[in-house]
Symmetry: C2
Subunit: 396 residues, 2 copies
Amino acid sequence: MADSVPSDSVGLVTPRIFASEDPLTLQCGATLPRFDLVYETYGELNASRSNAVLICHALSGHHHAAGYHSADDRKPGWWDTCIGPGKPIDTDRFFVVCPNNLGGCHGSTGPTSDDPATGEPYGPTFPAVTVPDWVHSQRRLADHLDIERFAAVIGGSLGGMQAMQWAISYPERVRAAVLIASAPRLSAQNIAFNEIARQAITSDPDFHDGHYRARGTNPDRGLMLARMVGHVTYLSDDGMRQKFGRELKSGDPREASGVEFQVESYLHHQGRSFSRSFDANTYLLMTRALDYFDPAGEHGDDLVAALAPARCRFLVVSFTTDWRFSVERSREIVDALVRARKNVASAIIDTEHGHDSFLLPVPRYVDVLGTYLRRLADEVAAGGDANTRGAAADAR
Amino acid sequence: MADSVPSDSVGLVTPRIFASEDPLTLQCGATLPRFDLVYETYGELNASRSNAVLICHALSGHHHAAGYHSADDRKPGWWDTCIGPGKPIDTDRFFVVCPNNLGGCHGSTGPTSDDPATGEPYGPTFPAVTVPDWVHSQRRLADHLDIERFAAVIGGSLGGMQAMQWAISYPERVRAAVLIASAPRLSAQNIAFNEIARQAITSDPDFHDGHYRARGTNPDRGLMLARMVGHVTYLSDDGMRQKFGRELKSGDPREASGVEFQVESYLHHQGRSFSRSFDANTYLLMTRALDYFDPAGEHGDDLVAALAPARCRFLVVSFTTDWRFSVERSREIVDALVRARKNVASAIIDTEHGHDSFLLPVPRYVDVLGTYLRRLADEVAAGGDANTRGAAADAR
């Protein structure tokens, strides 16, 4: 952490644990006898408990979205650019809740947790979880916090899928859903990249069919490769050109051995640090949740029908150079919402940073998000709910 | 091979070996005391030896571009769609020469060959080779075949880079250069994908720093991953959607384990068969040659200056859905050729098959290539060479 906390930071934060002692039956048919969700909150819940915002994280995210855990932290939470006093997700006005997803590896029950049935870590026996499973477990957290309705459920990428699922599964409990750099379901190309990442992990001899901890090993190489694949696909070609060009690490191309271009060095570094901090079984589980998300699938591939139950308003944001969750995929969501006569606003942001843009302080993006949420905060403060109950009317 | 050879096939072909016994000093400074190039030829060299066409292969290609090696072959050579009697590269009119590149693993001297200095296979000690090195070694093959000037040097992808280099290095020996789905140099994103492939190979514990053969192993897992990465980037998102959609291999998403989507099954199959047929050290070497190709680099990043020595005419072809060697990259080549006052024709082909399009029988592509080469064959038959010596004049 900087010597002094920046004035727009939420400052020091402490994670909390929500222990859900009731069994949870998952979509795959398995039942978890109990589970923990680790979460953080920023800002204050108002008297009418109407200003809560749920942040849903993406593939490699977690509950630590903003602020610092200690004075020694060099970096703040993963979405500190957007969450804080005066920031788009304004903690002076909203009570922000961010849990780590079920199956995660940052404190929520997941493959690294002990299975009560055996007393041993779940490891690869942790059941498959889906986006609807996550939303159901988050609903329990909402109940625990006595939040009847979220002012907003907000997420980027896989987080946007959760926001969409919230709107579908719990229409009365969401005032606004904000879907950023998301998609109604993955394309074959996206699934293929996820499969390469999984293959990198499972083919690592240190993976041991997922029992690596019991064997005292870790599939570092596989995780590193998986992260490298992810990273390249989260950046745009243009963005990489600007960031790295074709610059050599050493000056002389004749000394050709090992890592030579700057971009290689960067990817190695990113991959290595990820392999030290992320659980391989969790990575497999999260990518599978991504692959299987497909709300239209249960409605004969009709996204309009899938979105019909939603009562909230929607903001859909996409980025021009995001080729993994392209503008076109967000447009599919917007078009379906319009056809389903929902209240929907959308913005396409010009940026050079690809899918990663949703984490970056891109001025127009920050402005769009901030403006939208400021209006929402005003309405919440005024106690109004015209835009949720009257959503269909608004869109007509 | 089919029961009867199709009438537009070159039929049964037999590879030949060109043994170059003179030392070859490479760009990296190392010298090969001698080398072999394995090659195939299709069609007949005319009396004036003016109808020869050189085919340069891409990353995972080889000398077997057309026809069959035996009556049992299930598949013809890799570019049989374009090479044969009456096909765009018409073997009734052209004498087609296709070598396996130096450093390859299909019969030319490479990492799997014995180093005369030690009597042991080169393995990872085989020196780094570059596109100019390949062109110089191919020039020796041309001398051996007594071909003073190629009617055309043709290549897709990395093969197109060799065609460009031929035009620069040996301007008097090329009548036409055909660059298909190519680029003047790789982008940072392309280098990043190559680096992931290399990392997959070198981090495989069976790689043994490249000495896998001496250890009786093979980095199958790494090669498989490398090929999977390549494959996804050679296909377009649209093409994959059409080919695979989101179809599940088994019907039930609840049976979530292992390979579930059709696209995963396809990639596994492609990766596995590749890992059985391709040498890992060669793969590393070929991707490095790709990364370092940069003719403009020696001219202060001025591609116009780099192309100034060329005397031949050019055909530059690109495909709309090729995102690894995009239309924009071909446009850079065309623009530089125009500014360098060269004779250049170009075509952008609408297709859904991404980078792989250059290997497929896309009608307009086949038509463009065939028309261009038919006119060239006519001129060659008429003994004319106005379009090479007078290239600059033509472009004015």
